[in-house]
Symmetry: C2
Subunit: 309 residues, 2 copies
């Protein structure tokens, strides 16, 4: 089973409006809500592809119950830890006549003293049954800066591969604990390395630097340029030879799901990257953000071009 850890899960709510007018009252035409947070999204993709997964993280309040009910309805296995605070919502306002969507990100709960320690113990227990661990997304207030790093270390100590997809201080601290792979995008890579990343060559140089800081492999997601991976077994570029038009929301999570599933079955890096690109592309082409179709994944897989660098 692939265990996904989402430190700050969410209920992702989409509001459709004609046009968002600032400083006015806007009538929302439709409301769609579903479980979210990056690790939860990874579990949903894995489940859709028939890969055994379990989603964990702290969950609380009425919104937390809606998140749990949504995943239960899909049949995604979960092992959330109840907390006192309320799970956050992210609201995305999509304009039918307008611009790009507008996001409103709630901060999420402040974890009470002891809640992260309890989660950490809970995750460590779940790691015992996991083939691969994915730790993904932002961390809520009240989590120590080395919180995710300690989870990475706990999994690595048991020989379980870990994909870490975080950001900021939490990701930087996590590097030193030796994750099997991290999956930054160009902006995250630039922030981690302190210099601009404008293409595959920059990404490869930055990835080499982060490997020196402790990551066993770095898989950078570069949008239309696909993935660039620097690993102990070599470096590769993996991409589709055509430009896709669609919704990039959730594409990164689908790529992480592809990597994790490949690690779980012991696939070699070129195959893992091929899967990750195909699943990411399927997510871009999905009618609902991040929902991947297994048949589309299989057909895209044959189109992916993997090149040793």
């Amino acid at each position: 089973v692939i265990l996904t850890v989402t430190p700050n899960p969410a209920l992702d709510v989409t509001y459709r409006v004609g046009r968002l007018e600032r400083a006015e009252t806007n009538r929302v035409r439709s409301v769609v809500a579903r479980a979210g947070g990056k690790g939860v999204n990874v579990s949903r993709v894995l489940h859709a592809l028939g890969v055994a997964t379990c989603a964990t993280g702290p969950l609380g309040g009425p919104t937390g119950r809606v998140v749990a009910a949504d995943l239960a309805a899909l049949g995604v296995e979960t092992a959330f830890l109840p907390i006192a605070g309320e799970t956050r919502r992210t609201v995305v306002v999509v304009e039918e006549e307008g611009e790009e969507p507008t996001g409103l990100w709630e901060p999420g709960p402040q974890l009470a003293p002891g809640e992260w320690a309890a989660l950490s113990a809970h995750v460590t227990e779940l790691i015992g049954a996991a083939q691969v661990v994915v730790i993904s997304g932002s961390v809520p207030a009240g989590v120590p800066e080395d919180g995710c790093a300690l989870l990475v270390a706990a999994a690595r100590a048991r020989g379980v591969p870990v994909v870490l997809d975080g950001s900021g201080a939490s990701l930087r601290r996590g590097l030193a604990a030796g994750p099997t792979a991290i999956k930054p995008n160009a902006d995250e890579l630039a922030e981690l390395c302190g210099r601009p990343v404008s293409g595959p060559a920059d990404a490869l140089a930055a990835a080499a630097q982060l490997r020196e800081e402790g990551a066993e492999a770095v898989v950078a997601s570069l949008g239309a340029d696909g993935l660039v991976a620097a690993t102990g077994a070599g470096s590769w570029s993996a991409r589709l030879p055509r430009v896709l038009h669609g919704n990039a929301t959730g594409a990164g999570d689908a790529a992480v799901a592809g990597l994790a599933a490949a690690f779980a079955r012991g696939a070699a890096w070129p195959e893992a990257l091929r899967d990750a690109v195909a699943q990411s592309a399927a997510a871009v082409l999905a009618p609902v953000a991040g929902a991947v179709d297994p048949a589309l994944c299989r057909s895209l897989r044959d189109e992916v071009v993997v090149t040793a660098l």
Copy 2:
């Protein structure tokens, strides 16, 4: 007891942001949620002033449970009818560095066939124990156009006074059922009468027209111009002799609470209008939208100037 009927209750959520950037992801700094919908707001004001009240309406889903829990925590008596759909949220985005707030109004549930009939029977039963009935706010999808009118008629048939504070087709149909009072603002008055209302004289003429359509009294709320009332016992203006600066959200609901409480104790019109203006002004001055302070109401009451027109 004053029974308030809210056909489309809400959870009113306030998001505080630095500045709302359209087509960007905005980090929400704080989230505050409380029970809302116009009738619910009237009950909260009455309860704060020590007047016995009971709030009813259709309520459903996880958001409905949060609304019920919020009112229970305040000690406001409720008798909501469970429905299959989910109670709506209204999101107000307040900018710390910016403009007026931006509202996002969810449409609310589509009532299933039979649900409005069940609510109507439920309200009719509650009317038996009510001194005054307040019917306030918008109606959700699935409610017949004469839905509120039939509730007005049911109360009037039992000799119970009714304050109707609605809008659109529902308010127009409700007029013919003979509500004791309606409380339109200038815009609603203009829409009902089909001509502009730009001051107390226009409002009085429009109010006379609506009395011919069936309302026993019309109490128009005109912002800084206070209230203008046309009743079977005479016409009055009631206002504070000074301009207030504050948050007008909920001021109309506080005025309705003042009228309803005055009707419940059999007060004469000038006294009812004095109370309504004082409570409305207290709501404008309240630190939290619509929360009125009893002591402030009493002191403002002495300042209100009531003039026969």
